[in-house]
């Protein structure tokens, strides 16, 4: 069974249709990249998997989105529970104005965990998972804002890992970072796919090429092509895809 199965999804902001009849399957422990020009719907699409779009008024979705075989848009789905299983990392690092430790512990605490020993253990584990432990282990009590941009982003990844999700959504996770930090994030993604299923939105085609196993190209709310990244970048089937990845677009 595929980790994520999307069937005939339409998505609307009021009267505007942002996604048109999208179907795709994502296998477990794979990295899938969504690419496409601004406004193509890729960011809207990634937010469907943790129902982040629910927060925007007057949006609606048609079709079915299944995670582990369960339709996440059916009645009776606990959205907070869903978001525990589907972690998300955003474009700009957004650590909370708290200590490094409290940032990582946040997700555990809001989910009602109180056991100090367990929280400490989980924080360490998550920071290690996000390849940040060595850099911050001596200053866990310091403000997260004291970290560099790249470190903050890895902190946000650690924060997402702490609640043990099985899927990680990344919305342009490196677009606000310098090349060295970007490389670290990419290496991290490659490590993380051993444990997690990762969906990443990126404006940077080379990034999609480097980190993903499969790539989906979006244009004007439609999914034009979805295939192995190697095929997309060497021999795309659609001319539109070819024009976009070769920079002949528009």
């Amino acid at each position: 069974m595929n980790k994520i199965e999307v069937k005939n999804v339409d998505f609307f902001y009021g009267n505007f249709q942002a996604l048109k009849n999208i179907s795709l399957d994502i296998e477990a422990n794979k990295v899938v990249a969504f690419i496409g020009p601004s406004g193509c719907g890729k960011s809207t699409f990634i937010r469907i998997f943790n129902r982040m779009n629910d927060l925007i008024p007057e949006t609606r979705l048609k079709g079915s989105v299944k995670i582990d075989g369960v339709d996440i848009y059916q009645k009776g789905i606990d959205v907070d529970e869903l978001r525990k299983n589907v972690g998300m990392v955003f474009q700009r690092p957004n650590p909370f104005p708290k200590s490094i430790f409290d940032n990582v512990a946040y997700g555990l605490r809001v989910n009602g965990l109180k056991d100090k020993h367990f929280i400490c253990q989980k924080v360490e584990e998550s920071l290690k998972g996000a390849a940040l432990w060595e850099e911050v282990k001596d200053k866990l009590k310091e403000s997260a804002f004291a970290l560099s941009g790249g470190q903050q982003q890895r902190l946000c990844i650690a924060r997402a890992l702490a609640i043990s999700p099985s899927i990680l959504l990344m919305d342009e996770p490196a677009s606000a970072l310098d090349p060295i930090s970007t490389a670290k994030i990419e290496e991290l993604i490659w490590e993380l796919k051993k444990t997690y299923t990762i969906v990443i939105v990126t404006h940077n085609m080379q990034q999609a090429a480097r980190v993903s196993d499969k790539t989906a190209y979006f244009y004007l709310g439609e999914m034009i092509e979805y295939d192995d990244t190697k095929i997309i970048f060497t021999n795309p089937k659609k001319e539109s895809t070819q024009n976009y990845i070769t920079g002949r677009f528009g």
Binding site: N50, M52, R83, K84, N94, Y106, V110, F145, A160
Partner: protein, 288 residues
């Protein structure tokens, strides 16, 4: 005369007028302060601050008025802060964006435009008579609370609005509920700005005379109030009394300036505290 020179002259002229006006505002403030200080400093001593008025307001101190003002500040804060902050949170975080919120916001703004004497009359009608609190600290505090509510609501709303959406998103994405997000992320981040607003509201409340005129303030009470249903003296009202009525206006005048000085100092102190608190929080919750 060539055009460049002309341009430069009008530039200088405009600059001169603008800066002159700015400096004159500072000058006016300094003149008022100096005026009050020079006339009032003479009567200020420990006895003045710690005893009740004697000899038909011509002697003694203003201790009951200071205490009364403090009670009124605390009392109004106890009502206005929770209600105001919660309304602000509701308006910015919960209420669906639309006509309703716009209507509430307009009404709140109108509320702050109502003259304070009208608040006083309303307070008298509602709290003193209808709810039979009588002239009391409770009635006065509630009236002052109504007066400061719009300011509290607006500052809370503005403070929350200034927090980037991405922080809320980050919290929701970790499975936090809206309430948890507000309590653990949004509100702590908005706290410096909210605190500033609250302290400014306190400053406003402490200087108001009209709302307590009919609801609370006593002309003269040598003893301190013993409960919330007691009347109390208050600095602004006391100042008004000293300046407009009494047995001996000549002897009362220095005491009136002394009272004014104390009142101004309290308000100033509150404003300085606001600045310090803001700085302190702002450093603690430094945004990137």
């Amino acid at each position: 005369m060539n055009i460049t020179l002309k341009k430069r002259r009008s530039q200088h002229l405009a600059f001169g007028i603008v800066s002159l006006l700015t400096y004159s505002i500072v000058a006016i403030l300094i003149i008022i302060l100096a005026f009050i200080i020079i006339r009032g400093i003479g009567v200020i001593n420990w006895e003045f601050l710690s005893t009740a008025p004697t000899d038909g307001m011509t002697g003694g101190g203003i201790f009951p008025a200071i205490v009364g003002t403090c009670y009124l500040i605390l009392g109004s804060a106890a009502f206005a802060f929770p209600v105001g902050i919660m309304s602000g949170i509701y308006m910015n975080e919960y209420a669906p964006k639309g006509k309703l919120v716009r209507f509430i916001r307009m009404m709140t703004n109108n509320l702050s435009g109502i003259p304070s004497i009208v608040f006083g009359l309303f307070g008298m009608a509602l709290f003193v008579n209808k709810l039979s609190f009588g002239d009391s600290i409770l009635a006065g505090s509630l009236t002052l609370a109504l007066l400061s509510l719009p300011l509290v609501i607006r500052t809370t709303e503005e403070a929350l609005k200034a927090i980037p959406y991405s922080f809320r998103e980050g919290s929701y994405a970790l499975g936090a509920t809206k309430l948890q997000t507000i309590r653990r992320v949004t509100l702590p981040m908005a706290l410096p700005n909210i605190t500033t607003g609250l302290i400014l509201a306190v400053g406003r409340v402490s200087g108001e005379t009209a709302p307590i005129l009919f609801t609370c303030a006593a002309y003269f009470l040598p003893q301190l109030p013993s409960g919330v249903l007691d009347q109390c003296m208050a600095l602004p009202y006391h100042l008004y009394v000293l300046a407009t009525s009494g047995t001996n206006m000549e002897l009362q005048r220095p005491i009136a300036y002394g009272t004014a000085l104390v009142l101004i100092m309290i308000v100033l102190l509150v404003n300085i505290t606001a600045t310090v608190v803001r700085r302190y929080f702002a450093n603690k919750v430094k945004m990137n």
